[in-house]
């Protein structure tokens, strides 16, 4: 029977918490059945020179469906994710309609199942329509499997509403994730507020706008005791705020994007909207502080903020172009190239921590061990490759890394016991 086929990942180095060692991994019927030396099977995947770990989990993916299928669909985004080594993604709720109702959330999850390449976990909204005025129905959403809620793209501006949201969410065991941006401080903003934006004559996005909301929300966490996740931190000041909150024992977690670890605001000087992103690319000093936060554990996760835009929508004057860049297929390479974390730390950042934060650590971010669900990535930190925007699975091409050489690439992905990426090629 086809289901009983034995898949063996052979010749790699298995990465588990506290244990990085050469081993083969055998998978049957969706489960890891054996980890050891000299295993054989019906379908052997060569993992020579590669690490074998639990599949990556992206806390921050914009799949654009429903509403902007010309930029990405759940299927094309799932394929991009699988190629990047992901076995689960959290689908951001700024769709049209927004993921603020059970109906939309179930549609997204079902489309993910149909694509069958990664688990698609829809995030709910903090407020109805992401409009920042009324709480979304968290209990109904939680009953439909939602574990994380965010208005990403918008920060929740109203401090009273944010307090109520945290109090209400606390009872339900769901986590709120904040896009930290005081919108009054970023009206019309195009890029980081600094010397570069002043010379270019475009409105700036001050670091303060992120740090002010982050500070407010850390204090709301202190008040309410509800856990909170902070999306795409971009400034040195933010890293310090989270570091102190964690030292105080508050239940906060934080992510950083690959691009905020690798790219700086001076890239905007060429006016290419591909480098426009929200929050914006910052200074070298911010990049160094974010790397420090990744190294010392202040930052829990690397999340892509994969944000596809159709070419006609993105190729506008810099001030009119929508922010956002692709990330799923390049995240591992950018992280390895920019930070080069040790394999265990890489797994914490890309798989184990995000699975826990997303509330899906029953099936993802698990040890590679007998009896565990077979969601596995096989990746090579020594492979050097050149990114081409024309060779990506995403429906859009807005990668800032086009033509750039990266070190580190995913080779095979096994989702739910099925090989969905083999030798850097996704199943059709």
């Amino acid at each position: 029977m086809a289901q009983k086929k034995r898949i063996v990942v052979k010749g790699g180095t298995v990465v588990n918490p506290g244990a990085v060692a050469p081993a083969d991994v055998a998978i049957v019927d969706g489960l890891v059945v054996e980890v050891g030396q000299g295993l054989d099977g019906d379908d052997v995947l060569d993992a020579t020179g590669c690490h074998v770990s639990s599949g990556f989990v992206d806390l921050h993916t914009h799949l654009r469906e429903p509403g902007k299928e010309e930029a990405e669909t759940i299927e094309t985004g799932s394929r991009a994710a699988a190629l990047g080594g992901y076995t689960a993604v959290v689908a951001m709720p700024n769709t049209d309609p927004a993921q603020d109702s059970v109906m939309v959330v179930e549609f997204v999850r079902e489309q993910g199942r149909r694509a069958g390449l990664v688990d698609v976990h829809p995030a709910g909204c903090i407020t109805v329509g992401r409009a920042g005025t009324a709480l979304a129905p968290y209990a109904s959403l939680a009953a439909a499997g939602v574990r994380i809620l965010t208005d990403d793209g918008n920060g929740v501006q109203d401090p009273l509403l944010m307090r109520r949201a945290l109090e209400y969410a606390r009872d339900l065991g769901v986590t709120l994730a904040q896009h930290c941006e005081v919108s009054r401080l970023t009206e019309g903003a195009v890029m980081h507020e600094g010397s570069c934006c002043s010379a270019m004559g475009v409105p700036g996005w001050p670091a303060l706008a992120e740090e002010l909301m982050l500070h407010r929300d850390i204090e709301l966490v202190r008040l309410t005791g509800a856990p909170m996740h902070f999306l795409h931190l971009s400034t040195a000041g933010s890293v310090e705020l989270v570091r102190r909150a964690k030292a105080d024992g508050l239940p906060v977690t934080a992510e950083v994007t690959p691009h905020h670890l690798a790219l700086d605001h001076e890239l905007l000087a060429g006016w290419d909207p591909v480098f426009k992103v929200n929050p914006p690319l910052r200074t070298r000093g911010d990049i160094e502080a974010l790397k420090q936060g990744v190294a010392d554990g202040t930052i829990d996760a690397v999340a892509t903020d994969h944000a596809p835009h159709a070419a006609h929508a993105k190729e506008l004057p810099l001030d009119q172009a929508p922010p956002g860049m692709l990330g799923l297929e390049t995240a591992l390479g950018v992280l390895v190239t920019a930070v080069a974390p040790a394999p265990e730390r890489l797994c914490e950042l890309m798989s184990w921590n995000p699975a826990r934060i997303a509330g899906i650590d029953d099936r993802h971010g698990r040890p590679v061990a007998p009896g565990e669900p077979a969601n596995i990535a096989v990746w090579d930190t020594s492979e050097v490759w050149t990114v081409s925007r024309h060779a990506l699975a995403s429906r859009s091409t807005n990668t800032p890394y086009h033509g750039m050489e990266l070190r580190g690439r995913n080779r095979h992905t096994i989702h739910d016991g099925r090989v969905v990426v083999r030798d850097r090629k996704a199943l059709a």
Partner: protein, 314 residues
Amino acid sequence: MKHLITTAGLDAAEIGNLLDVADHMAEINSRPVPKVPALRGRTVASVFFEDSTRTRLSFETAAKRLSADTMTFSASTSSLNKGESLRDTIETLSAMGVDAFVVRHKSSGVPEAVTQWTDAVVINAGDGWHQHPTQALLDAFTVTRSFGDGNTMEGRHIAIVGDIKHSRVARSCMDVFVKLGARVTAVAPSTLLPAGGLPGGVAVAHGIDDVVGECDVLYMLRMQRERMDSALVPELGEYSARFGLDPARAARLPAHSLVMHPGPMNRGVEMLVDPSHLPGSRILAQVANGVSVRMAVLFSLLGGAAAGLERGDS
């Protein structure tokens, strides 16, 4: 120099060369028949995505005096309203055979983007808050020729007064004036200065009274009324009181000082005195010089035959 997008790529020598060519153009403009065949057969397209009648007319006059053919595209009457993209517009016009695009857009960076979509010369006629290079060149021409200083501003103190933050004119002028050796002071409340700082070599003052007694050039910027709405200044009256040029301040200007303004003036806001009563006013000279300097830019970029400058068009 293939295009003129920003002043940043020009050094003092290149600026000086353009000003020298502008001297020739000024001489042509003083002739009974101010027209030469230098750019005959060339086509200059004014592509104005933002209205600016005076800049457009200045460029078109410049092109016509060099015998170029001109075409005008203005956003309000164009297919942009039908959803055509900027790129499609430029590629379409380019296909008609355009040698130079003169581009104005409310978004910073558009002229730079246009250079990717056409082989024609691109001249920035003002983009967002970013740059207005021909304005800075005509202002440098006006200052140096008024003082008889050749192509240098060494030893001159130029105070630029007003909304520096939102001004493409200020960005271009600060750059050019500093390169030519001037001492430049930006005079504005901190709310109207760029948050990321000023270019190197530019000093700051927070009231016109700090500079009016000793500047060689008082360069007034237009104060836009909508700045009041975004809490950048409390009210126009208070702005005028701190930064407006009124008769008492005009009387304190050194006798040789020039008063300049890129236009259009906001009388009663930054200009509380009739400039026609100011002996040092060069505001209309700026407009006249604008034609000469734009002729110089078109001629230099389009590689017109120098011989074409020598005789009147038949």
